[in-house]
Every structure is written in C-alpha cells, then in structure tokens.
Symmetry: C2
Subunit: 190 residues, 2 copies
DNA sequence: ATTATCTATAGATCTATAGATAATGC
DNA sequence: ATTATCTATAGATCTATAGATAATGC
C-alpha cells in the first residue's frame, strides 16, 4: 500500500462499524434499545436500514457491539480502582450525559423479561461488586473505618453510583452528582 | 339498590379500570412501557385492545393511571418517614419483585427523550429528596452523626434505594437488599 | 340514554430476507 | 471474488378511529 493511500478495505470496514456503534449509542440514549430502530441508526451514518444489516446482521448483534464498546471505556482496569479515581470517573461522567444516559436506559430496560442485555448486566454487576470490594480492601483492609467489610460496602458503592446517575439525568440542575459521590466516600471512609 | 344486588355500573366500571391498571403494571414489569402493547394488557383482562381503549383512550392515559396508582401505595405519607420505617419498606419491597420491577423499568426508560413518565419522575424525585431531608432532620437535627446535612444525605439515601433495586432485580440471590440498606443506615447514623 | 364491548380497518412502523448492482482488491 | 450498498418486499406488530350491537339504568 503506497504512502498516503486510502485505508484498506478491512480498516475502512472497521471504521464504518465503529461509526455505526457510535450512532447506536446515541439512538439508544434517546429512545432505549427497544425504542431504537435500525433505520434511525442507519440514517445517522447515511445508510439504509438494509445497508446497516450488512455490518451487523441483527439488531441484537448491534447491541452486543455497543456493550463491548462500553467495556472498552473502562480504561482503568478494575483491579486498579481506587476511591479517588472513582471520584474522577464520576466527574468525567458528569460531562458526558449521552453516555451515562445510554447505559442508564439499558440498565433500566435490562430488568425486563427476555431483554438481550440482561445477562450482560447481571454478570457485569457481579464482577463490579467483586472489583469494588477488592479496591476497598486495598485501601482499608478487612474493615472500613465505619466497621463494614469490603464485601458489604461494595454493593452500596455501586448502588450510589447508579442511583445518583438517574437523579442527575432527570434533573442535572438539582443534583450535584460528583459532590454527592464525594459525600458518600467520606461517609464510608471516616 | 336491593340487598345483594350487583354493583352499580359506576362501581363495576371503576373495578374494571383497576383490573386494567393491575394488568398494565404486570405487562410493564415484563416489557417496559414502550414494549408493553395495549393488546397484551387487554388480553390479560379478557378484552380486545379496542375494548381496553374504552376505559383509557390512549396508551399514555393508561400510563398516567399506573403512575397515580403507584402514588397511592405510598401508604406512609412522606411527612412521616423515619429510617426504621424505610427499612421495613425495603423488606416489604423485597417480597414484591413485580412492583419493584415495574418502577425500576419505568425509571430507566424515563431518562430517554420524550418519555411520557419523565416529568413525573423528575417531580417525584424532587419531592422525595425534600421529604427524605425532612425525615432525616426530624431524627438527627441539622447534622447527621457523620457530619452531613440532611439535604446532602437525602440524595444518597434515594440513590442507595434505587441502585440496590437494580442490583437485586438482576441477581436476587447475590444481593441482600434489605441488609445492604440497613448497612447504609448505620453508616449514616453513626 | 349510556355504557361496554366487538369487528373492521387505516396508517405507521419494524426486523429481516432476497437478490441486484457497483466498486475494490487479489 | 469479495465487499458495500441499494431496491423490493414479506410478515409482524402497534396505536387509534369509526361505527355496529347488545346490555343496563333512568
């Protein structure tokens, strides 16, 4: 391939897929997964709905790609979580409502029957609680200052993160998500 | 109206509406609001979809009735909340996954654009945070033992309640929702 | 008269399949 | 040859409207 040449077909194809996944993220944020139509995603990347199905053969395949993409954002591996990094993550999220909204909408839908993301979230939360417990253990040992074990504090930490996101998405003016999360950290740690 | 007579038409009609609302609750728990079809609700009460529309002229009118019904369950007025009563409420909820699931699914959907329950949840959370702050103030005064003001503890309390529900709905075996909530109360209160 | 319920149906969608056509890369 | 994309379309839904029919209550 000569210098300055266009991308290879494979690279072009991968970029197209990435574009489609980004568009799907947006449409899911706006309408949820069940409400997101392939046509709406396709339109955003200048394809017909049938053209999109060339890249992802079913709507569910596209959702799987969206969830994989989500996993890639966890730039910090779970084994390296620390409370101060989590606080930064919350601040970062507070600048990215679209992404928070995509996953809050998906989490909400996932508790309904037969939802294709249900298993993903169930497994992810098991992992996230375990990683959170390890992160707390690394900082505090077997007991937090409040007396809780890392295993019992972990689901509370996760609950606060998710619960604050819903309150903040519904009413960003009234809810200081990063501030509330720092309050919770000080509660745990004192 | 003679003794032992059947109900009045009006009473019969109200009972039919209540039946429909209950059925809608179930279908929304299973499929969310966008995924819930009027036909599925109608079938559950032995009506055709068009027959159902005699009682609720649009799908949105049915949702409004569902949300009103939800408000009626808050048997304990917000002005009388106390931490120990909240703990009982969580235990009660842990025995009613269907109801928890209906509102967790609706909350998740409500953050998407143009969702007909969005305004309802936005306003409700404003009220719930205020009521929670008052409940905490009544017990602890201007500062909780942890040093937080009631206004800053309130959104955390609400977040823990909602966040735990999602974790519990996804994996009831692994998440002790009432136990975790009590842990959080002891964190706040000590 | 009013209420409850039905059949028929319009008009929008939605996902997915089939198969054509054009462009790209060995 | 393979890849990208399109048109055509099947087959399922969905909500809502129109209008008929039967039952109930003044």
């Amino acid at each position: 391939m000569p210098y300055g040449d266009a991308m290879s077909t494979r690279a072009r194809s991968q970029e197209r897929r990435a574009e489609i996944v980004r568009a799907a993220l947006e449409v899911i944020a706006e309408r949820g997964y069940r409400g997101a139509s392939l046509a709406a995603v396709a339109e955003r990347v200048g394809l017909t709905q049938q053209g999109l199905l060339h890249y992802f053969p079913t709507k569910e395949a596209l959702l799987v790609a969206v969830l994989r993409e989500r996993d890639r954002w966890d730039a910090v591996p779970a084994g390296q979580w620390r409370p101060d990094l989590l606080a930064s993550l919350v601040e970062y999220n507070a600048m990215r409502p679209a992404i928070v909204q995509t996953f809050s909408a998906l989490l909400g839908e996932s508790v309904t029957e037969g939802h294709p993301a249900r298993e993903y979230f169930t497994e992810r939360y098991t992992e996230v609680r375990a990683a959170m417990a390890e992160a707390l253990r690394a900082v505090y040992g077997e007991r937090l200052p409040s007396g809780l074990t890392p295993e019992r504090a972990a689901p509370l930490m996760v609950a606060v993160l998710d619960g604050l996101q819903y309150q903040w998405l519904l009413d960003p003016e009234s809810v200081d998500m990063p501030g509330a999360f720092r309050d919770f950290l000080s509660l745990l740690g004192e």
